[in-house]
């Protein structure tokens, strides 16, 4: 009951507090947090099967490119093209998943990494229609244009918040349902799972497609928020940083990827004033957190709670 109240309070705060923020920079950081949470949470769903995909930025790029082309060349309205970015990423992920899920462990990392680079390479090579290395500029904002004015980030924040909440709700429900329990069991013992009738490749593929779908959704939103996409944005490094969000937040609970994405988006911003030392400090904090909290922030929180229960 208290946790429900806390959740309601959190949602109310997320909805109301930004109304009092006029600083566009702060609102921009909040939109970035939304994007990073979407990416981290969707990748986490795949992660609970024991698989780490380094191709998530690739699916994000496919989502971004799809909606961009639909709006710029096909003159589709944003609200129609937005889900198509996600659907396109989901469709592409089916053959990619079928191929890459044949291998395990580091080989899966390598195949997904290669996929992400192929997506970048293809979009960078064909200047028409993908814009090449220059990328595509002037992607129209969502309608109505009066509301979604690039200089005022508040409506973008609310759009991002809604998309993030949808992503979180779907992934959370899926992870708690029988579907999610089977995903966990695949990580615990895929051989045993298949011996009791679990279609292990099928479940892995389903998780892979869902993760790609929401990465594509995040990409769609990204394109219309920044109004600019290029192969220099959706890089392998970005896929890695999503993994870092999850690991620092904690792999073993749903809150982990969210907490990780929020904290690690904020930390570099807090040290922006230190100029060239910003990334150095960020790195030190990462190393320190891994040393002191090997199972992530949420893992540390859980242990602290368990200790408190025992001592009381």
């Amino acid at each position: 009951m208290t946790s429900r109240l806390a959740l309601a309070a959190l949602l109310a705060a997320l909805a109301l507090v930004p109304l009092g923020i006029s600083d566009q920079y702060v609102l921009h950081i909040m939109v970035m947090i939304c994007l990073n949470v979407m990416m981290a949470v969707s990748m986490w769903l795949l992660g609970i099967t024991g698989l780490i995909s380094f191709g998530q930025a690739g699916f994000m790029f496919i989502g971004a490119m799809t909606t961009t082309l639909l709006v710029k060349l096909g003159h589709w309205p944003f609200w129609v093209s937005l889900p198509f970015g996600a659907i396109a990423a989901g469709l592409v992920s089916i053959p990619v998943g079928r191929l890459s899920l044949r291998v395990k462990g580091v080989y899966f990392f390598l195949v997904t990494l290669a996929f992400g680079e192929v997506v970048r390479g293809v979009f960078a090579y064909f200047q028409d229609p993908f814009g090449g290395w220059y990328g595509i500029r002037d992607i129209p904002p969502p309608e109505p244009a009066k509301l979604f004015d690039t200089l005022h980030k508040l409506p973008f924040y609310y759009l991002g918040l809604v998309l993030t909440l949808i992503t979180c709700l779907v992934v959370y429900r899926a992870s708690r349902a029988w579907f999610g329990m089977i995903l966990w069991s695949i990580r615990e013992g895929d051989l045993l799972a298949s011996s009791v009738g679990v279609n292990v490749p099928g479940f892995k593929l389903a998780a892979f497609v869902v993760a790609a779908f929401f990465a594509g959704l995040a990409g769609s939103f990204y394109a219309h928020y920044f109004a600019y996409i290029s192969p220099l944005v959706f890089t392998f490094q970005y896929s890695v940083s999503i993994l870092v969000f999850i690991v620092v937040g904690g792999f073993n609970s749903f809150a982990g990827p969210i907490v990780g994405a929020v904290v690690l988006t904020l930390i570099p911003e807090l040290f922006r004033v230190t100029g060239k030392y910003q990334m150095l400090i960020f790195g030190l904090i990462l190393v320190g957190s891994m040393l002191t909290m090997p199972d992530g922030i949420m893992g540390a929180v859980q242990r602290w709670r368990a200790r408190r229960v025992r001592s009381s």
Binding site: A177, M181, A193, V196
Partner: protein, 278 residues
């Protein structure tokens, strides 16, 4: 009619013939033992029958239907379930949850269905949990139902493995060395369980085992394999007196005075064997 019928089964790995033209048939309600020295091909035979490997030649029929080459997860639906030589469990799950995953085939686990946490879905989940608890009680480990599988003692882990395999309601259960590395009490407990599987659940059992005393006690018939070939088959009494079987296990005797059987009863010798069985 035989429940399981294997005809001329051969499995080659490159130049190595692990299983060579083996035929056997198991009657419904039978407890069949599969014995043979290390590397004889027992586990390979298991892997082929359970669908983990495809045979190089030969046919397998289950309940009158051809199941040759049917993959494991599809075979489970037809009622052929196996356990593994090395403790395969979901170590981070509780005992109850391990068994619950075993009930996967009864769950109906669509992705979209899970998104709507409807009362029907919840009721179904509760039913499954009741069923899992019933299985945990049946195998006699309900006192530990809420412990993590990883923390169980060895004997309990092996029993839990059988409990997980009961989830898909097997008609034929293939047990790969169920009592490997167990002490006497645990062996007895496992053998009682194997008998219960037949008496109370009507499950036909085929088990690979190195512990001769256990095999002789519980099995109706025994098939002995050496170098991938079947060398003997029959009741425990017949097989344990069979000269080719004795030779396979003990080598040739120079003098015929000694009773060759006591060595086959020895627990220690057989348990040492089973550890590095491939």
């Amino acid at each position: 009619m035989a429940l399981l019928e294997v005809q001329g089964l051969t499995k080659r790995f490159g130049g190595l013939v692990a299983v060579n033209d083996v035929s056997l048939s198991v009657e419904p309600g039978e407890i069949r033992g599969l014995i043979g020295p290390n590397g004889a091909g027992k586990t390979t035979l298991f892997n082929v029958i359970s669908g983990a490997l495809k045979p190089s030649a030969g046919r397998i029929r289950f309940d009158g239907r051809d199941i040759t080459g049917v993959p494991m997860h599809a075979l489970v639906r037809r009622g052929v379930v196996r356990t593994f030589q090395h403790s395969q469990l979901f170590p981070g799950f509780t005992v109850l949850r391990n068994v619950l995953i075993g009930l996967h085939l009864h769950a109906g686990s669509g992705f979209l269905e899970g998104l709507v946490n409807s009362p029907a879905t919840r009721r179904r989940r509760e039913e499954l949990e009741d069923r899992a608890m019933e299985i945990v009680r049946f195998v006699g480990i309900s006192a530990r139902a809420h412990e993590l599988a990883a923390t169980l003692p060895h004997g309990y882990k092996r029993i839990l493995q059988v409990a997980v395999a009961l989830g898909p309601t097997p008609r034929l259960l293939l047990l790969d060395e169920p009592v490997a590395g167990m002490n006497h009490e645990d062996v007895d407990r496992m053998m009682d369980l194997v008998r219960d599987l037949r008496e109370k659940r009507g499950i036909t059992v085929v088990l690979v085992e190195h512990n001769m005393q256990a095999v002789m006690n519980v099995c109706d018939r025994i098939t002995c394999i050496q170098f991938g070939r079947k060398i003997a088959e029959g009741t425990p009494e017949v097989v344990s007196q069979d000269p080719t079987v004795i030779e396979a296990y003990l080598g040739t005797f120079d003098d015929d005075d000694g009773d060759p059987v006591p060595n086959m009863d020895s627990h220690d010798a057989s348990n040492v064997d089973s550890h590095d069985a491939a």
